[in-house]
Symmetry: D3
Subunit: 326 residues, 6 copies
């Protein structure tokens, strides 16, 4: 099979083969009345208009918007822009096309670290929870939702909004949560339980097949309340789970956004809850500034103002500094 070509490498006249996310799909008529498919395809390097003129009947139901597709075709120019004339198209999955090079990471952004490696690290952190009730609670929930936790983003448009972003965010918070809990002498087990469960409702709120979007439950109920449900239901299955301890876990989840404006129905009312919120906020903001720099397309040392912070961010060092190291 031919090599994979990414969108930014497309040239007029070249034949290409590649994997893309189908982001628009319209069945239209040519002026002569024939049917054709008018598509928009995207991969991690760019986006392009594509047309499918032939075999419409056969091919049009093979895929839909939101699918990963494998495509062969030829690049030409229309109204001064590149477009792709598709010859063959099919839905792509790791099962069917993995051996031909398909990887979701080609078409949607992903966390930088490997999801399985991160999962292992998270598992070690969970084992450090000494309180049996809490450790069992977190363990049972992570076992149940392992598949989703491995791939879900932490949000749709904000921080860690990429494949495995939720896992990355939780792991990052665990790493900093440990020394902070110790420093502020809060209940470490409670804090770590909060770290691992605060966003667990995202696995129900966000439908995450390549393009993240909100589920009905997500729209109507939201991840904060859905996450608390997951905790309450799992606790019910653990014999003698102390009710007051459960109330604290519920509060950790409900208050983790820290303020009403961010859809938390409660503000943090004890130290572990406050620290959880502060760590969550800190990890999210650090991620957002990293993203602001990475996604910026301006020339020069400063990003544009079009980012979460609405200010220019310094992209690199002002100069090569003499750091005067010993």
């Amino acid at each position: 099979m031919k090599a994979i070509t990414q969108i930014k490498e497309f040239k007029e006249g070249s034949d290409i083969r590649g994997f893309f996310l189908c982001v628009e799909k319209h069945l239209r008529n040519t002026r002569s009345g024939d049917l054709y498919l008018d598509l928009v395809l995207r991969d991690r390097t760019g986006q392009i208009t594509a047309k499918l003129w032939n075999d419409i009947n056969e091919l049009q139901d093979k895929f839909t918007v939101g699918d990963a597709v494998v495509v062969a075709g030829q690049v030409d120019v229309y109204l001064d822009k590149l477009q792709l004339n598709i010859k063959k198209i099919n839905v792509a999955s790791v099962q069917s096309y993995g051996r031909y090079g398909y990887d979701p990471g080609l078409i949607v952004p992903s966390a930088k670290s490997d999801a399985k490696q991160m999962w292992k690290e998270v598992t070690l952190y969970i084992k450090k929870i000494k309180n049996n009730f809490l450790r069992t609670l977190v363990t049972s929930i992570y076992r149940k939702y392992e598949t989703q936790i491995l791939t879900h983003p932490a949000s749709v448009v904000m921080h860690h909004n990429y494949r495995s972003g939720l896992l990355e965010h939780n792991l990052s918070m665990a790493k900093i949560g440990l020394p902070l809990a110790e420093h502020y002498k809060v209940d470490m087990d409670l804090l770590m339980t909060g770290v691992f469960l605060h966003d667990i409702g995202k696995v129900k709120e966000i439908t995450s097949e390549l393009e993240a979007s909100y589920s009905d439950e997500g729209n109507l109920i939201g991840h904060i309340v859905l996450g608390r449900d997951i905790a309450v239901e799992a606790a019910k299955k653990i014999k003698d789970f102390p009710p007051d301890l459960l109330k604290k876990v519920e509060h950790l989840i409900l208050s983790h956004q820290g303020q009403y404006d961010w859809q938390s129905p409660k503000k943090p009312k004890f130290r572990e809850a406050l620290l959880l919120h502060l760590i969550d906020n800190l990890d999210a903001k650090m991620n957002l500034m990293e993203k602001a720099v990475e996604e910026d397309v301006e020339e020069g040392k400063w990003t544009s103002r079009r980012n979460y912070f609405r200010i220019p961010i310094l992209k690199d060092n002002l100069e090569n500094e003499d750091n005067g190291s010993k």
Copy 2:
């Protein structure tokens, strides 16, 4: 037994007997080293300092702050203010002192209408819900929490914050909800379910023995989420309760405050939810203006600015108007 005297009728030197709410209770030493109880008592007409000098050992554990008490004593003047010297004191309840005239309405403010009469009316409205699932849901919940619904306030410091205020608020909303649902052609059953269940979490959030305050659950989880719990648990016991219908009921409860600032984790996302929020807001505001006028102590036509609205409210007609009626 002697007639009941209310605080505003106290006169220097008179012997009184009455029922009061104990709002403060301190065990102190006289300068000569003897123990005495320093109390603050309140009824619907006022508040007074009271002292108990004798039989401390015997009497001091008979009651605590927040209790209704039956008291006999004598009024005198200390530092230019009336105070009560207590001779006898005991905790009061409807069971033990009802026949001697005790009624919680003597010592805490209550809804103007009779709670049992309001309950009957509410029952009739619930019967109008045609959808079997929803009617059964509301009925089973009202049956379970009947005792609390009969006496709970609708809030601690805001609207309908008096005995049976929750019931009064729900009934008021039902009465206006019916014509509004019809006018706007929304699903009447869904709206009425929202009316009866939107504040049901208050029965867990507010501890309401005479002095309303927040329970641990209320502080940590809040009435919005607790109310949804009540609905979800009741629905589980109803065979074949449609899951999508339940999601809507959950959303009705979660979004009824209408905005994040007021601790709703979701804003209304369909017409019944929006109308529920608007009716709730309308009924609360009308109640708050009524309270602002009733509680004002200024002379003249206008209240002071010390009310929910932070503006002077017109207390009565500007003049006796010639209304020119036919």
Copy 3:
């Protein structure tokens, strides 16, 4: 005469005849130096660029931006988009073209109910005002401004912003105002007067020939103050109109937006004024959610966030629910 073709039915090459709103009109030179008219036309189904190449001198002054026009022409394609080559064009009015099918409702959105029918209903509600002064006040004003009330929108870009929207809004508020006034035991006559007069200033604020926009008076003084003027002037002509009653009517109009941010110079200071504001707000919000759903172009159950509420709205039922009706 040929049948009317609406813009969404235009096809390349077809000859059409139709009624449109002229939304842009520019006199330009072709590269060869000849004059032509470059227009944008709109009807309820869409918008199109149009060119008029001939008889410029004769035709260019026959109509202006904001006019309804009757057009005959041919559809062709330019730079990959449809455009209309106009052969004949003239200004259209119900008087001259009504019999050929012209109706303002073809080119601008209108209330769903018939304006004359709504007017009749409003008249009946006005008759229910028992206070002679108030009934005479409302009647005289509605008589004077009948023409405008029949066609004006209730706003330029917000709720009920379509032909006869003001009338629809007033009628809707009257229908719900009646039971609400009764329930809250407020002065029904005063409330209904407020309902019918609160937005009456819109007839001076908004110039409403097809495209609603603000008059000089609207820009400089605003409908709230203009509406009060209308009430004050009408009251002057009513013998012995009680001055304090008039002050209340003035306050109803001035405070109906309910908060300073929404350009009310006063907040509601008595119960009828508060209820008027709450009903106005309720009716506007219900209309805005209805519009948000109707105007949404997204596929799926949820609207986009591009609406008044800035959240996705549920467009239809989640599923065909088993409603378990008896």
Copy 4:
């Protein structure tokens, strides 16, 4: 007659005579059942409790709250504070007691400059308006409301809230308005008309017999709209007053607060209106800072934070500076 004693000069045991504002008046019973009057009196130097024990029947209706009173009595001490035992009391006015030294300025704060002198200056500024319509408009209004303009405060609790404060504020704005209008090349006549009329509604909004408070009209309609009424009515009596010029004057008054939050139903929409608002704001803020310093009671160079600005204000020079003048 004896010399006048001001409250801050009161000493235990001394006999005094003076003029005061009666700010509280309660008819009460002594413990032995006799009637007495319990009063609070105030003058520019302080406030004191006063008791009237004798001749109640005769004296109690001679004055009411808000009246200026002439009092003779003796100072004693009760519960460690000074109080005044009244022997004689009567209502005081300039007519009846002016020759004995009564002056409203003794009991309520007043502008520093003499009202009549300020009135003369204002008159000269009005004469500088060249446009006949506008000059006649302002002149006729000032003639009609001369009495009130001479004594009204510019606000109840904010800037220039003292006797003749409105006049002082208008004069101050006129003085700076002249050079500013010239500098920014705006229509001087329009601006000066705005200066003199922007707050004219205060003469109806504020009832100003010694203690400023809001009239019914003030509460229900407000000075902004009432002021525009005054302008519109006066313009009607001026032959051929140009309607567009009147609309501008109306807008000047309606928009002078500059933002909706401050109860202006319109924001300034032309340069004269914007400049009027900016001058009004500037003059008010300068007055508020002056007041903050004058009214502060802290020791040291800095005021407390309890002022309009919510920050400490520097009261005097940091040190005696060497200014290095030539």
Copy 5:
């Protein structure tokens, strides 16, 4: 040399010569693989796409984005729009092309008054400062930064954002500061020092070669703090500059924006600081309204809402008014 043609005068087919600002510059390949330059040029009258096909190697490094360029070329039409085919291009400066008609005012907007004339006026105002320390302070700073003060804008996107805007703003403030300082009896020297130095940090914050943008210092430290630095450093060089006087000058600069939201780390704490802030605000707002009218492109009497004030502004007189002048 040929006459200069401005962009709005370009016609298809004509040969032109002119001065422009290069706002975009991309080196691209034609489909046949040859290099060409794809540019966007701008002058005060418009903007156009330009192509340079020949002598790329020689010409491409002669200029960069942000440069003023002198261009000769021919206008043609591509995809229905005018574009310029460049024959010759070079960087332009007053030194090299001034005698051929180059003036920065041709390509970027400038203050209406002549910079040198304004400088002279400013100098006279500075001389009016009587306090030797303050006059020397301002004089030394203006001498040092004369070049920048002559050309800097007062902001990048807000008020006076054009060539010499800073100087224009300072002069305007000085003109109104004089009568205002006198009227409010504040320390005139201190106020005028504030007028001349409040924005002096802009000379370091804004890099202003034709296209204004922020320097690294501007981004990291900001003009408020940079301006104070300039004052502090200059004062150090003045013998015996009184430290408390310097603190006041520092506060004038730090607090001139008047509120934290506008990046002032302090609010005005004495009368001169408050007045400086109010004058600065007044002059900026008047300038912004003037700009809003000048930059508006709507037909009719009213601007669009797309301006600083977010409301329509009245562009001219409502009508030709009869002003009734004597």
Copy 6:
């Protein structure tokens, strides 16, 4: 010498000796005309009124408001409250009365850890800064301001507002800054420099002899700008300090409050600055919740709402939980 008695241990009739902060001091006349001193004294356990009747001439100038005083006297009761009759009084300092038990910690709140011990730890952290320029910068500043850093609070009324609070806050931030800098891969030296210098301006902003208050510099310039001054001046004395590195240090200090509302003239614009702000905020919030619990005087599990967070905080565990530890 007699034992020290703290205010909460005072009893009627007892003779006491102790150290107190003099918080009010007024010279008054008795009714018989003799002079006496009316004082308010405070220590860490409470506050009391005190009178000094004798030897006024000799004693009145020995101390002033804000001084620590050593007092001998007798407790009696006046108007039902305890007060202290002073026999001897003198100003107290560690030098003169340390050996008799005086310690500032008796009369003002202090950090829990010993200041000298914290200083040692801070010194070790400073040594970990590898960059010579930065380490030298921090070291020289801490050497210069050692005395103030040892005793200053971190704020007047907010977090760490007690003796040595600034040192405690800096040390706490250093401890958590180290692992966080490592985790987020930011420049550790830059972050730690920010940690140690971000609040250094407090040593000039706050005058801190027992009662913290603002200096003139603090009021006019503020700790953020004053702190940057300290850094800039110290850097000037370090040979070849890289200018771009200094700009970053300046930005760290200027932006550490994170938002304009909190008086930072810049928001954080690179990762170290953002992390510094987040750590500062986190440490302050954790301290504020600890204080809210410690300072609460309510009975029961929950604090009142009168704290920084405006919500009830859970003071202790809900119950003794079975934590199910292994």
